[in-house]
Symmetry: C2
């Protein structure tokens, strides 16, 4: 995105909602499978001390790194020490003003929020489908992460440009409470929550309930309310605090 | 699946339709990007003579193999020479009667059918998003492959059990035309095609067209009609020809 158009950014974020919902509904077809998240229970040769989820996420990110995923600003890695890209990647021009994309990296919080929601999303207990469960987990946390980091970076840049003097003042003062206040628009957030409920209902309205588990739309809404939106805002603040100044500060 | 219940098998196949449709709609958000499918153009260090699609699919399958994906009957690999599983996998009991799952492996035909449909699915030209495009491709061909191989194996086993004498006769005679005739139920196929059109329409009915490209439902229906259903039937025949006999033949 070459210029930070808030309407366009909001549309992209809206488009990512379907993606996140699909992934969560897919994961909900398996049981919670707690063993797959227990360190020391991976049953994976050479990686015994980790959980299967951690191993799968790291292996997938090592692959993704070779293909250049993390050269895209909103694709932030959950792991460190990943290999360099083996591809020449065409990185489109963007309007962001931070030198190090990983100044905005909330992947630790995203993993925790996702693992917390699993017992609500899935039927309790074990179906032993640990491989499929963690394969879906990785796709889901990557989709959630993309939404949060895309929102954090581009929304912050857009809002900054619309009111740079006031943002500069709060940044210089290190006043994160004021930044959060300036970034918050409760009526926009409420519209998102209502839309999420409506989408989850719609996407499940015609499914065959003999083969597909149905998810309570409020679980997805609450994940947005308690994690995705607050983490996006925290990312916006991190972005603003790391943003290259357009002019001398002070 | 411990006993091959045709209604249950049909429900699973129906559930996989949403998955396949979601994946195709996601891929359609990128341009055709022909360069990603051209051998010699991968721009990937050490893998220059392949296409980026081929490299991505092979790397993903090497990872998946380590996590035990191909120990599941319906997950057939597109590549050979893959590593062994590094996990102890809980393979649930199944009702299939073939010794070598890869006797039914139509992945070459699946890749070709998928690549043929891309220019219909996507806007022509290049957006240079080769990494994202091929990431989506791999997820899509794996979903299509799962549907075809699951259908081939379990539908064939179920139909065999309902009329084993007649199937045995055709198998012993090597009469594949007769097997195809016995396996074909045109009215079931027509119902699937109508359902596909209806699902693609429904899933796109409320999307925001300023940010999401809309796909003509007939493209997905024709992919089912020209590839997915015929390949499933070809897989059913392969399954029956490889099936362990329950009794002495002749």
């Amino acid at each position: 995105m070459k210029t930070p158009d808030l309407d366009l950014i909001a549309s992209v974020l809206e488009g990512l909602e379907e993606t996140i919902i699909y992934k969560l509904l897919d994961r909900a077809q398996f049981r919670v499978n707690r063993r797959a998240y227990t360190p020391g229970e991976s049953d994976f040769t050479g990686e015994e001390r980790f959980s299967l989820f951690d191993v799968r996420l790291r292996y997938q990110e090592e692959l993704d790194a070779k293909f250049g995923r993390f050269m895209v600003p909103e694709e932030r890695p959950f792991n460190t020490g990943l290999p360099h890209s083996a591809r020449r990647v065409h990185a489109p021009e963007n309007c962001l003003r931070i030198d190090e994309y990983d100044s905005v990296n909330l992947t630790g919080e995203i993993t925790q929020a996702y693992l917390d929601v699993l017992p609500l999303l899935c039927e309790d207990g074990d179906d032993f489908q640990y491989g499929s469960s963690t394969e879906h987990d990785v796709i889901a946390v990557q989709a959630i992460s993309r939404r949060i980091h895309f929102g954090a970076m581009y929304v912050a840049e857009s809002k900054y440009r619309s009111n740079s003097t006031a943002y500069d003042r709060a940044v210089v003062a290190g006043d994160t409470a004021e930044l959060e206040r300036m970034l918050t628009r409760p009526e926009v957030e409420e519209r998102i929550y209502e839309r999420i409920v409506s989408k989850v209902e719609y996407l499940q309205a015609r499914i065959n309930r003999t083969v597909r588990r149905v998810v309570d739309p409020l679980i997805v809404r609450d994940m947005y309310r308690n994690s995705i939106i607050p983490l996006t805002k925290r990312g916006e603040i991190l972005y603003l605090l790391s943003r290259r100044s357009d002019r001398p500060r002070g």
